[in-house]
Symmetry: C2
Subunit: 332 residues, 2 copies
DNA sequence: ATTGCTCTTCACAACGTTGTAGAAGGTGCT
DNA sequence: AGCACCTTCTACAACGTTGTGAAGAGCAAT
């Protein structure tokens, strides 16, 4: 059905390799020949077979992006920006969802699918420290987020600790002293929750405010529902608080909903700050103060890094940290 | 670097074709041979080269999903569900963003990338009626949404007219008589905006309420910001209204924000209904009444349809319409 | 022992492309 | 004229897989 180099060659009266040379902009082709070939290409609607090209060249010009769940706004917006950044470099993006499941994440790393793409951007959530060695794979890999530390693998991360500290300091600066947390993961150290908690405690310490464990609202998943439930649990516990630091915006919106439903005014009674600067905090009621963790830059740098790694596997592993900022809105 | 059939064959002491037969579960392989080959496969960590397989077999087991913007919750959730549905059938999903740009959509249809995937799920927004013939492409294609009608191409759509009518009737049933629209596209007929407006007018007609053009709040893009701006414009125009039917949830949330900021109570002064049933309306303040247009079923049926089309190109074009329902929450 | 059958394995030829090496033709220099 | 050197084009051999057809092995029936 579809035309091949041979079909074009036959029509143009040249060898199929000459057609290949035209397609690949090989310089030593006589202008008249080039034109004849191009006309034949146009006439037949020839398009290169990318499987064959990929087999022969070892390049597919496709990368994978593996995220926990695309329906979480943070990952949807990350994927959006990764796709844009990849497109600027002529790459297409294949998206895998791991549902923050350790087994699925491990399967992914060993999957034959990986051989179809030139590289992988991987945002692991379920993997534990003991799985760290599993990320030593043949396919160029860039890890996103800070869940895993493996010195030999490229990372592009946000500054979780510093940004969380800044978020907490923002609330402190506005006079809040009893700052509850929504989204903590008890016992976790290296994950986003662990690091953000670390930043929170650092800010409290610096301000001379004692850490009160009763202010922690654990939430395994970072969805709206879990944010609402954590806030309800804090209210029900009777602990006194005048602010909430939610570990992402989705949790924050859920928490805010629960607070308002319980009759608390935001920000008058309880100030709320989120984390991620996703679009849905821009028009919430009230609008959500949040931390912009540099998602756009993460996407850009991640694609840039994987492209470099694809081009040269021998360069030293890169660990990129992007900037963050506080976005103040009505909720604080 | 990576092991091939030949490497495995050498280690197992068989021909490379026998290894291929083992990999593909060809039945006539002696159990002892099969085991020896499987051990060699495990030892070398052999994984088939998918480019080679794709070149030889003509199948890549990958499909493309083309959407306007992944950061819009509707499309993020659609993509999430398409990926899940595809995975159940052993397919991976490559995502393209068209930014509702006609030229990009046309480019996509002619792209060589398409030859790398077995099929395409395409949600066009920018194409016009005169581009309809462009969707006659070699790659199996399923159109999502109702923007284009081309009898020869598979479609999976929501019931825009009926669902919009039901949304309007929901507001009418709650005693609202001055129902504003947010998100209309002046002059459009076959797009989502045109069809939803048609449903709105049908409901008004049936209720004997005259259509008032001043109640239309146009919004080209269906983002939160445009929803807020459209609502502000309606308020500024001085036209009286006691309800808003926003053509998607994102617009609705933006509009609700603007209404509340202007001192209107939702739903007491103005009832609001959205469209799409995306996650962000579940915990908004107030929570958002909306239309569930059957997104999950659209994803499932779309993947099912493209799989059928890939298997047999000669079957009659399918036009699938999925069910809808009203999801009532606090905003109405 | 030979024939005919089934089970098992294999050699070979694609799929459509790019890289290598070299041939054919032309041009400029000595 | 002879040589070297460009430019232009081509033939051939991969890349790693699957489909086809046929060969070899084993066994029952003749």
């Amino acid at each position: 059905m579809a035309a091949t180099l041979h079909d074009v060659a036959r029509l143009a009266g040249v060898s199929f390799k000459t057609v290949s040379n035209v397609v690949n902009d090989y310089p030593h082709v006589r202008p008249s020949t080039r034109q004849r070939v191009q006309e034949a290409i146009a006439q037949l609607g020839y398009q290169p077979n990318l499987s064959a090209r990929s087999l022969r060249s070892g390049r597919s010009d496709a990368i994978s992006l593996a995220v926990p769940e695309l329906r979480l706004p943070y990952f949807a917006e990350l994927a959006d920006e990764v796709i844009r950044a990849a497109e600027r470099r002529g790459l297409v993006v294949l998206i895998e969802q791991t549902n923050r499941d350790r087994k699925r994440e491990l399967d992914l790393l060993g999957s034959a699918r990986l051989r179809m793409v030139d590289g992988l951007l991987f945002s692991p959530l379920g993997l534990t420290a003991e799985d760290a060695s599993m990320v030593e794979i043949d396919t160029p890999l860039v890890l996103l987020g800070e869940r895993l530390f493996h010195p030999a693998v490229d990372h592009v991360t946000m500054q979780n600790v510093a940004a969380a500290r800044a978020a907490t300091e923002h609330l402190l600066a506005r006079g809040r002293r009893r700052i509850a947390v929504v989204g903590s993961h008890p016992g976790e150290v290296i994950g986003s929750a662990g690091l953000r908690l670390q930043g929170y405690r650092a800010a409290l310490d610096a301000a001379g405010i004692p850490f009160d464990e009763r202010l922690l609202g654990p939430a395994e998943l970072w969805h709206r529902r879990e944010g609402a439930e954590a806030a309800q649990a804090l209210l029900a516990s009777g602990v006194d608080f005048d602010a909430v630091f939610a570990f992402n915006d989705t949790l924050a919106l859920g928490a805010m909903h629960a607070l308002i439903a319980a009759g608390r005014r935001v920000p008058d009674d309880v100030a709320v700050i989120g984390f991620d600067n996703t679009d849905d905090g821009m028009f919430s009621q009230p609008t959500l103060t949040t931390v912009d963790p540099g998602r756009r830059e993460i996407a850009e740098r991640a694609v840039e890094t994987v492209v470099q790694r694809i081009a040269d596997r021998s360069i030293a592993p890169q660990h990129v940290e992007v900037g963050y900022s506080i976005v103040q809105r009505e909720s604080s």
